[in-house]
Every structure is written in C-alpha cells, then in structure tokens.
C-alpha cells in the first residue's frame, strides 16, 4: 500500500467530520438514515418503470419536473455518503466493490443528465425509451446491491488495520 495512500486515509479518518460521524451518538445513524432516503428517492424506479412502458398516461415531458427531486436526492446521498465514508475511509477505499459502486453511480447520473433528459424533452420511439428505462433500472439495482455488499466484502475497518499499528 503506497505511503501517500495511507497518509490520505489517515488524514480523512482524523478529520473533524470523521470524528463527529464516528464518535458522536447520532452522527453515524443519521448518515445511514439520510443515505437510505436519498437512495429510495433517486433509485425508486418511477422514471425507469415509465420508460419501460408502465403507466403510459404519465406524460414524458412532465417527468422533467421530477429532476429537482432526483438531483436533491443525489445531493443528499452524496453528503451522507461522504459522512459514512469519512468515518471508515480504509474500509471503503481498499475495497474494489466501492469503486464499482461509484462507477455505476457515475453512469446512472450521466444517463439521467444527458440521454434520458433529452429523451423526455423530445420524445422518441418506445423501443429507445425501453432501452434507457432498462439501463437505469439495472444501474440502480446494481448500485443498491453493491452498496449493501460493502458491509460484507471489506478486508479492513480502520487505517491501523493496514499499518499494523
């Protein structure tokens, strides 16, 4: 493990945020609860299900009005995610599943920001709608699963587990 990486992990683990999240009574539980709300509202499937053909009476262009909720949920997930990460940086950042999850989130957010938004604005044939609906559904299902597996696939908890200190 490179020295600068260990130094980075130590710096995160000793930061004021990390100490508050990790050692206060409510820091960690609150972060977990907020992360669950962000997850449910961002990955709740409404957009994907509509694109896949459910509830066809929902006007596609009207779904653009959900974007503030989607971005707000993404922001909430990001903030609470940083809080959770800060408490146990070594646990997540030494686990490949964490990087897999981040990659999925990047793809999911890009899909929402670019092609799906365009599709809602312009309306395209249902075959293309279904393709994007399936794509975001699969991405969010995999993200949720990867997130849950983070609790079971880590090799270390604290930086001291890496340094043997």
């Amino acid at each position: 493990m490179p020295a600068f990486f260990i130094a980075l992990l130590s710096w995160i683990e000793e930061s004021a945020l990390a100490v508050w999240v990790g050692e206060s009574t409510w820091g960690f539980p609150i972060s977990l609860v907020l992360h669950a709300f962000g997850m449910g509202l961002l990955a709740g499937g409404n957009l994907a299900l509509r694109l896949l053909g459910a509830a066809p009476a929902i006007p596609l262009i009207g779904l653009l009005r959900l974007y503030p909720v989607l971005w707000g949920s993404a922001g909430l997930s990001l903030v609470s995610g940083v809080m959770l990460l800060s408490a146990y940086p070594a646990k997540a950042l030494t686990n490949g599943v964490f990087y897999f999850k981040l990659s999925l989130i990047a793809i999911g957010l890009w899909l929402l920001a670019k092609p799906v938004r365009q599709l809602l604005q312009q309306g395209v044939d249902t075959a293309i709608q279904r393709r994007y609906g399936a794509a975001i559904l699969v991405i969010w299902l995999a993200t949720i699963t990867a997130g849950r597996f983070l609790a079971y696939t880590h090799n270390v908890m604290r930086v001291s587990d890496l340094t043997g200190g």
Binding site: V33, F37, L41, G44, W140, L141, I144
Partner: protein
Amino acid sequence: MEQTLLAFSQATGIYGFMNSPWGWPVIESLHFIGLSLLLGTVGLFDLRVLGLAPVLPLPALHRLIPFGVGGFVLNVLTGIMFVTSVPDQYLYNPAFQSKLLSMALAGLNMLLFYSSSFRAVMQPSPSAQALRTARVFAAISLLCWAGVITGGRLITFFRPPFYWCFWCG
C-alpha cells in the same frame, strides 16, 4: 414466540440460507430494492398530492402504485426471513418496534384515504376541499414511511442485550 419463529425459520430452510455466506447480504439487497420501489412510487404519489409537479396527472401516477405494493410485499417476505432467523435481535428492539408501529399507522392511514377522499381527488379537477383532505393523508403517509425506514435503519444500533428498550432503564 422467539422459539416458534426460529423453529419456522429452521423448518423452512430459511435459517440455513440466511446463515450461508451470501444469504444475508442478498436478502438485504432485495429489502433495500423494495424500500426504493415503495418510496419511488407511493412516496412520489404523496409528494404529488402535496403539490410537487402538478403537470403529472394523479390517476396516471397512481398506475405506479402496484409496483410500490410489490416492493412492500417483497419487503414483508424478506423481512420475515430476517426476523425469524434471529428473532431475539428484533422482538425486543425498540427500533424494530417503532418500525412496526409506523407501518401499522401507514396501513391505517392508507385504508382511511382509499375509503374517503381517494375518489374525489382522482377526478380531473378535484375540489379544493378534496385536495386539502388528501394532503393530510399524503403528509401522514410520508411521515409514516419515513418512520419505517428510519426505524429499520436504526435496528442495528438497538440490539439486545445492550438496549432492550428506551423505557427499560
């Protein structure tokens, strides 16, 4: 009670599966997917009733509710798998008890909504009175489901024997 639940889990093979290497995380993942479906459909409907995105017609949005019900059923089934596999971690856990209470209130609120203002608010242009009533139901629904999620997420912090309940001293 504990023994009955545990015996059920063992007799059905749930216990063995949940104690296999990936049993617990796989079922947890499904539980979180169910949660998301519920919040993304029922929660969205509630937010719409409360004034979000009025361009989305309520009857159209209501077509997504069956998926939320599906998510709820998935969570009842996966939830039974958790609880029956380690009943003592749940039965005496104040977070789990609060979660069940919130769920019961959400169910009662739903019954009252469907038997009172549902029809009126699903009309093309519902009356102000119908909307006002529906908003109260929607707000209570959101609060109850938020309580269910919060209680569920906090279960791990109130495991017996360390915390049997708030009021046990």
